[in-house]
């Protein structure tokens, strides 16, 4: 009996679950496996996957893979960096429009999210007008010259972003054909629609948005190729018995789809608060948030490259995240920051970091419910160090002579719950709110206490929502 498995690969954790798991007892179902989660810095994807599949490796089956690699590949420059070909005169345009931080006045502003080094950006002499008509035709001789430069750089992936290519793609198509024939993988901006994109604010539209998406796609292709190789290695020597399906870059899109779609049919939609290990997000049941079929997917056996979807909807990331650092800012008390620090070096509870995070506050107060793949990482000895650090951070409170670090942790817990509640307030949510994600069980009592007027309900197997959701697109097709 073959398996159908969902594999969710995040920045630090991977989780695997059967599509049709009804019980964690693997002995009762020949086609299922125990859901499992592992910490990628300790056990790589290949080892973890091989161990999780175990004896079923020879039986074969399907693996549906979704990954947050799209976000990470871009931010962390994973995979091979692509070259970017752009209309001459605009080689620096993308870099100059990158977001500047901090948002408030600062003597040292820094531009963030620059997608490429400028020595990988090349101008192409061509120009289309605002209506798509040709002002300056593309000269194929320029491409030959460019070819020699790209060969020197040893890059095999190219992103192409020409002005007004969405109105007239003929120049981009010419470039794509030219380089494709010479063995390059080419992504063109006219293939991507407008909308929000990583690294750009919603109001920044037009060519910049399209170009960024094109570059993202080029990055992600390379990163996904690495990912696929790791999965292939895990399945060796029975690779041919497994069908691998790659899906959208954003797993939460599928979490939403898995839960919204059946509910929508019964006109019973309600919002989702996803409290995953790596990300807290709110998914609202409006037309924008209900995803349709995956935009592209491919069979790992038949296709030379995994298809990707960087136009996935964007679940609303919350102002507090599981790895938000607890820091001393303007206020004379430690508070959670809005940005996630990730799991490198990880929360203090993992024993390596010196800075407490939201997860540490829950751990210190003994609020963390057991989480598969995480509980073994928690170091009981670090609890005392977390309280000690909170005490140090709170020492500067004016007029306070005696500080109880547990009281600080409790205040922080209330603040964290308030921050989650702010999202519910902003959207004037009422009635039932469903919770998913590995941390949902830990937060449910806090939310119930904070908002007794709302009904918080854990979805079925909430802890495995991400891996289970990976299988949904195929099932509902």
């Amino acid at each position: 009996m073959s398996c159908k498995l969902g594999l969710s690969v995040g920045e630090s954790f991977a989780e695997l679950a059967s599509a049709d798991t009804t019980s964690h007892d693997s002995t009762s179902h020949g086609s299922t496996i125990d859901p499992v989660r592992w910490f990628l810095p300790r056990r790589n994807l290949t080892e973890g996957l091989r161990e999780a599949i175990g004896a079923r490796l020879a039986q074969g089956g399907q693996i549906h893979v979704a990954s947050t690699l799209a976000q990470h590949a871009f931010r962390r420059r994973m995979g091979a960096i692509p070259a970017f070909l752009v209309t001459t005169g605009f080689e620096h345009w993308l870099g100059l429009q990158g977001p500047v931080l901090p948002e408030t006045p600062s003597l040292q502003p820094k531009r963030t999210g620059r997608p490429l080094n400028e020595d990988l950006i090349f101008g192409i002499s061509e120009r289309l007008r605002g209506d798509g008509s040709v002002d300056e035709a593309l000269n194929p001789a320029d491409l030959e010259f460019l070819m020699s430069k790209l060969e020197l750089l040893k890059t095999k992936t190219i992103a192409v972003g020409l002005l007004h290519a969405d109105k007239n793609p003929q120049h981009e198509v010419l470039i794509k054909n030219y380089f494709h024939e010479r063995g390059f993988t080419v992504y063109c901006s006219h293939e991507f629609s407008a909308g929000e994109s990583v690294g750009l604010t919603a109001e920044t539209r037009g060519e910049l948005d399209r170009w960024l998406k094109t570059i993202e796609a080029a990055y992600v292709w390379s990163a996904l190729t690495d990912l696929r190789q790791q999965i292939d290695d895990a399945l060796t020597p029975n690779r041919e018995k497994w069908d691998i399906q790659f899906h959208s870059a954003d797993i939460l899109r599928y979490v939403a789809k898995a839960e919204f779609a059946p509910a929508a049919r019964n006109s019973q939609t309600c919002p989702y608060l996803h409290l995953g290990l790596e990300r807290f997000a709110l998914l609202l049941p409006d037309t924008k948030s209900i995803p349709g079929q995956p935009i592209s997917q491919s069979n790992g056996k038949s296709s030379g490259q995994p298809s990707i979807d960087v136009t996935a909807l964007h679940p609303q990331t919350l102002a507090v995240q599981p790895t938000s650092a607890i820091e001393h800012g303007f206020w004379p008390v430690p508070l959670p920051t809005s940005s996630a620090r990730g799991f490198e070096p990880g929360p203090m509870a993992f024993g390596k970091s010196l800075q407490p995070t939201v997860l540490d506050v829950l751990f210190a107060l003994d609020r963390l419910e057991p989480i598969d793949g995480v509980s073994t990482l928690l170091n009981e000895k670090s609890r005392a160090r977390i309280f000690e650090t909170l005490f140090t951070l709170a020492k500067g409170i004016p007029g306070v002579t005696s500080i109880d670090p547990r009281a600080i942790a409790l205040d922080l817990e209330t603040t964290i719950t308030d921050l989650l509640n702010n999202e519910l307030v902003l959207h004037s949510l009422s009635g039932e709110i469903r919770l998913s994600g590995a941390l949902a069980r830990s937060f449910a009592p806090l939310l119930e206490k904070r908002r007794p007027d709302l009904r918080f309900r854990l979805i079925e197997k909430a802890e495995w929502a991400e891996a289970r959701a990976c299988c949904i697109p195929m099932e509902s097709r």
Binding site: G89, L96, Q97, K110, R129, L163, L410, D411
Partner: protein, 503 residues
């Protein structure tokens, strides 16, 4: 309330995060909440520094002239009734928070930045339609007659009605969220907590500003036309005093007193390196004195568009210069001041307005940033090229860092930007530059950045590039090319010997 907070700052910080999150829904627009009973700004989310003090003032002006009940909406853009420039329109709505133990009123104000119209006439009316505080709707519903009258005025911004409608819809959403939060028995949105928030802000801000070096200093800067900006900065125990006595009048650059306050506030924030909450609590730590008739305290009917742009940057830059004179830790290369705004008005009345930001100054630790206005509104972000070319008969030929514009130094300043436009239809161009001759200074031996300039190359003019004066108006024909070169930022520290040799 349920909470048993151990430390008051946790409660006030939690209230702040709630207001922050709700007002963040306005994205590009500045937004503010005001306690009308106390006539105090509770929380200002200023996307542009000019709005820091002006937006609460506009809300209170609206309340003074329009009796606002729960859900009523008022509008105004008059710079002399709490505004900044006519292109920045304020919407104000009132809401009653029905908390379980007490009810209280709030004003919610939002500012919408439309593309500004720049004129050299020096009078306000030439810059757009002037809207004094007036009612715009009741119970969340817009009065479309008033909206139509405004939108049909000759100088009304494009898409006025559509933008106002969208913003009012969003205001209504946030108004409902605030009211719902007020009804929540566990919420911190209480009058008593709001008042304590202001006190806590003042106290926390005092802790931050107490680290500033005490003393006083005087600095001066000249406008492009030679007019003086004089600042005496004095830091005493619990106050930072900005005294602009001695500042002259100007016929070309004018800004309101409250805009000047915002410029001082943002420079102080940059110096202390903290995001200070902007509200009545923290405002008390600043004292800003502006002499009557000085260009930083303009009176009606002065035109304020240039003042709300380059004028603000000049004041903030001067404040930073004063701080740096009192404490060398704040010494940095100066940033280019001018946003190099150019506008093209086409025959059909369409207005294209764009800026080209200069470079920022280098600091002790890092080089300056290319093409970023340190002090100016965040709306100086350039338009996407495709949007500009689709909406207007022009082509943007190139946008590149301006080579050689940055001030040299151990760390170089940020480079200015070179941007070229090619006109495809007749248009009248208006431009105004600042700090063309007085360049962005370097610090600690760093060299100054290159000043800004605009060149025009007429179609059929044999490639001759004509350098334009610092401000003016010019009729352009199809095929004419306008090149805007913004200034570079000042460098920091002596340039290396190697570099000196090569130069």
């Amino acid at each position: 309330m349920r909470k048993s907070w151990n430390f008051s700052p946790y409660q006030t910080a939690s209230l702040e995060r709630l207001l922050q999150r709700l007002l963040a829904a306005f994205e590009r627009n500045s937004a503010a909440l005001i306690l009308p009973a106390d006539a105090k700004a509770l929380y200002v989310r200023a996307k542009r520094p000019a709005d820091i003090a002006t937006l609460p003032a506009a809300a209170l002006q609206c309340l003074q002239y329009v009796p606002l009940k729960d859900g009523d909406i008022a509008i105004c853009n008059d710079p002399f009734a709490g505004g900044t420039r006519l292109a920045d329109v304020s919407l104000v709505t009132s809401l009653t928070i029905d908390a379980p133990d007490e009810s209280f009123d709030l004003l919610l104000a939002v500012r919408i930045p439309f593309p500004p119209r720049m004129t050299l006439s020096g009078t306000l009316e030439a810059e757009g339609v002037r809207i004094p505080p007036m009612p715009l709707g009741n119970s969340g519903r817009l009065n479309r007659e008033i909206l139509n009258v405004i939108s049909q005025a000759p100088l009304a911004p494009a898409d006025f009605t559509k933008t106002i409608e969208a913003t009012v819809t969003r205001m209504e959403t946030i108004r409902r969220a605030l009211k719902a939060s007020g009804r929540d028995p566990n919420s911190d949105l209480r009058k008593s907590v709001c008042r304590r928030y202001l006190q806590d802000c003042k106290a926390a801000c005092k802790t931050v500003t107490s680290r500033l070096t005490l003393g006083e200093t005087t600095v001066t800067t000249n406008l492009e036309g030679g007019e003086l900006l004089k600042l005496r900065l004095e830091i005493i125990d619990d106050k930072v005093i900005f005294d602009f006595s001695g500042t002259e009048t100007s016929s070309t650059m004018q800004m309101t007193e409250l805009t000047t306050f915002g410029a001082c506030y943002q420079a102080l924030c940059a110096v202390v390196g903290h995001e200070l909450p902007a509200n009545a609590g923290t405002f008390q730590l600043l004292e800003v004195h502006t002499p009557a008739r000085a260009w930083i305290n303009a009176k009606s009917p002065a035109a304020t568009t240039r003042g709300a742009g380059d004028g603000m940057a000049l004041v903030s830059s001067t404040v930073l210069k004063a701080f740096a004179r009192m404490n060398e830790a704040y010494r940095v290369g100066a940033s280019a001041v001018s946003a190099c705004r150019v506008q093209f008005v086409f025959a059909d009345g369409r207005l294209f307005s764009d800026t080209t930001p200069g470079g920022t100054g280098a600091t002790r630790e890092c080089p300056g940033l290319d093409g970023w206005n340190l002090w100016l509104d965040r709306d100086t972000e350039a338009l996407p090229t495709e949007s500009a070319e689709t909406s207007f008969p022009l082509m943007v030929k190139s946008v590149t860092p301006r080579a050689g514009s940055a001030g040299r130094g151990r760390w170089a300043g940020g480079q200015g930007i070179s941007k070229s436009y090619c006109l495809m239809a007749p248009a009248r161009m208006t431009w105004a530059l600042e700090q063309v001759n007085e360049k962005a200074e370097g610090a600690e031996g760093g060299k100054p950045g290159v000043g800004c300039e605009i060149l025009v190359q007429h179609e059929g003019g044999h490639g001759e590039k004509i350098k334009l004066a610092t401000q003016g108006e010019l009729d352009l024909r199809p095929g004419d090319i306008v090149r805007v070169h913004s200034g570079g930022g000042g460098g920091f520290g002596e340039p290396s010997t190697e570099e000196n040799k090569s130069v």
